[in-house]
C-alpha cells in the first residue's frame, strides 16, 4: 500500500480512501491511485483491515449435512445473496446434533471473526443448542419454529401439507394416510400438523401417522402395509424419497398408481420429475429461504433487534402420481 501511495504521489491514507470511500477523493487523484493499484497489482490485506475495523466480510453457515438436497440448496441461496453484498461464506458441518456440537461449530467460526452465523439445523435438539449461544454474535436460524430468541427463516411446512391434503381430498379421496418424518425434525412436525388440520377442517377421519425416517426403505416398508388395506386410496409422504418407497411397494403389491392409490411427496427433489409415475409433490424453494436468512442476518448485523419469523410458501406440483378416487 505504501508503494502504491508513493507511485501515485499521495499518502497511504488517500489510497485507503480511494478503496473505501471513493467519493471523498478528487476524481483525478482517484484515477492516479487506481492506475497505481492496477500497475502494482495491489490487493488490500483483509486481515489488517478486519483487525482495525472489526469487520471480516465473512459470514458463517453451520449445517448438519450439506450433501442433502435441502441444506445444499439453502447454502447455495445464502452464498448467492451474500455475494451481492460482498460477503464470503465459511461453512462448518455438524458431526452430531447436540448442544455441544453446535456450540463448537459456532466457536470455530467466531475464532475466525465471522460477522454473523446462519444455522441450518431443522431439529428440535438443535433448537436446544440455540438457547446457549453467545449473545454478542448475530445469529439467524433456518427451518426452526417460531418463538426462538433469534430471527428465523423457513418454509411454511404446515401450508405445504395442507395443500397436499386438500389436493387429494378434492380428487374424491375419503381421507389421507400420512407417512411422517422422524419426530425430532421440526419439518416433520409441521407436516403432521398441516395434514391433521386439513383433514379435521373437512371432518375427515384422521388415521395414525406412520413414523418413517425419510428413507425410501421406510417408505417401502410402510407402503407394503398400506397396500394391503383396500381402504387406503391416498398417501401423503413427508418427503419424496419415502414417496418413492411407497410407489415401489404399491407396484409390488399390484396396486396401480394413480388409478388405485394416489401418492404425494414433499420437497420436489430434482429426480421427482423423472420417476415413473412422475411424482406429485410439494416444492420447497430452498434458495429463497437462504436468501431470506441472509437478509435477516444482515439486518441483525446492522443492529436490528427484532426476531422476525419469515416464511416461504411452498408450491404444490401436480404430476402423475395422483388421480381421482376409483369407483
Amino acid at each position: 500500500m505504501e508503494d502504491v501511495a508513493e507511485r501515485a504521489g499521495v499518502s497511504a491514507m488517500t489510497v485507503s480512501r480511494v478503496l473505501n470511500t471513493p467519493e471523498k477523493v478528487r476524481p483525478d487523484t482517484r484515477a492516479r491511485v487506481l492506475e497505481a493499484v492496477r500497475e502494482l497489482g495491489y490487493r488490500p490485506n483483509q486481515a489488517a483491515r478486519s483487525l482495525v475495523t472489526g469487520r471480516s466480510g465473512t459470514l458463517g453457515v453451520v449445517s448438519f449435512d450439506t450433501t442433502l438436497y435441502g441444506p445444499a440448496s439453502t447454502l447455495y441461496g445464502i452464498e448467492r445473496a451474500a455475494r451481492g453484498e460482498e460477503y464470503l461464506i465459511t461453512i462448518v458441518s455438524l458431526t452430531a446434533l447436540n448442544r455441544r456440537s453446535i456450540g463448537d461449530a459456532v466457536d470455530r467460526l467466531r475464532a475466525q471473526s465471522v460477522e454473523g452465523v446462519v444455522i441450518v439445523a431443522p431439529h428440535e435438539s438443535a433448537v436446544d443448542g440455540l438457547r446457549s449461544l453467545p449473545a454478542d454474535l448475530p445469529v439467524v436460524v433456518v427451518g426452526a419454529r417460531e418463538g426462538l430468541p433469534v430471527p428465523v427463516a423457513a418454509v411454511d411446512q404446515e401450508a405445504g401439507a395442507v395443500r397436499a391434503v386438500r389436493h387429494l381430498l378434492s380428487l374424491g379421496h375419503r381421507t389421507v394416510w400420512h407417512l411422517s418424518g422422524p419426530p425430532d425434525w421440526i419439518d416433520a412436525a409441521g407436516r403432521i400438523a398441516g395434514w391433521r388440520s386439513a383433514l379435521e377442517a373437512e371432518g375427515r377421519p384422521v388415521p395414525d401417522p406412520l413414523p418413517g425416517d425419510w428413507s425410501a426403505r421406510s417408505g417401502y416398508e410402510h407402503g407394503l402395509r398400506l397396500a394391503r388395506d383396500p381402504e387406503v386410496t391416498a398417501v401423503f409422504a413427508a418427503n419424496d424419497h419415502m414417496a418413492m418407497g411407497v410407489l415401489r411397494a404399491m407396484r409390488e403389491a399390484g396396486r396401480r398408481v394413480p388409478e388405485d392409490v394416489s401418492v404425494v411427496g414433499f420437497d420436489d427433489v430434482p429426480e421427482a420429475g423423472y420417476l415413473w409415475p412422475l411424482l406429485t409433490t410439494v416444492r420447497q424453494n430452498f434458495g429463497e429461504v437462504g436468501r431470506l436468512a441472509f437478509e435477516l442476518l444482515l439486518e441483525r448485523i446492522d443492529g436490528g433487534a427484532e426476531n422476525r419469523y419469515r416464511l416461504v410458501e411452498p408450491e404444490l406440483v401436480v404430476r402423475e402420481s395422483t388421480g381421482p378416487r376409483a369407483g
Copy 2:
C-alpha cells in the same frame, strides 16, 4: 490477551506461547495461563494473528453448482478433512464457466487471504481458466485430467466405464450402447474413452455414442429411440439421471428391464437404490476425492512442488437393472 497475561501474572508473550507452542512453557506457568484463559473466556483474534503470521487458517473452495450431488459430496469431504487440521472452508460458487469467472472467484478468496484453493469444476473450459491462475497461490483441482500445472484429485472415470461395460459383456450382451454426457465435461469424455476401449478390447462393434446433457429428459428421448431397435440389449448411461430416463422410455416402449434390456448408470446417487428396478451403477466416492484434494493442497501449502495426479477407484454396484441377455 493483556488481561489474561495480567491475571496469570505473566507477559502477553507468554500467553501467546502457551497457545501456540505449549511445550516451550513450564507446566505450572502453562496451567496458570490456561486457567486465566478459561476464566476470562479469552479467544485469540484470528485477524491479528494472520496479520503477523501471514496464515489465515482458511482454505477456499471454488465450485460450479454445490447443489449437485457430486460437488456437494466433494465439498463435504474437503470440509471434514480440513476440520481435522484446524482449517476452515470458505466457498465461492461459479456463476459461469469461463476463465473470467474462475479468476474472479479466486481473487475474492485471495482477498480474504485464504492459504490455498481447491477448484471443483470438471469442465474443459474450466481447465483453460487454470492456466492463468496466480502462481503464488497454492491451488488443487478436482476432476480435471492429467497434465495440468497443478495437482489433481479425481475419480478414475475410465476405469469405472470399463467396469460397467465388462459387467454387461459378461452377461452375454453382444455390445453396449452409450449415452454420453455433454462434450465439455471431462468426466463425460473419460466415460466415453473407457466404454470404447472396453468394447475394442473384446473386439466388439462400437456404436456411435448418443450425446445427452445429464438430464433424465435426454435419457428418456434417446431411450425411446434405442427401445425401437431390437439389437439394443445393453445401455450404459453416463449418469444415473439419464439412466432413469432410459428406464422410463423402455417401460413405455414395452421393453422389460432387465429381461429385455440391461441398463447401467453412473454416480450411485442416493435414490438409485430406491428406483424400480433398482439401478445397477458405478459408485464414485466423492468424499474420498475431497479428502485427497485437501491432502494435496496441504502438501502444496507446505512447499511441495510436485503436481501429483491422484485417482480414486470407482466401484460397480450390481442391482436389478442388469441381467443376462435374453435368448
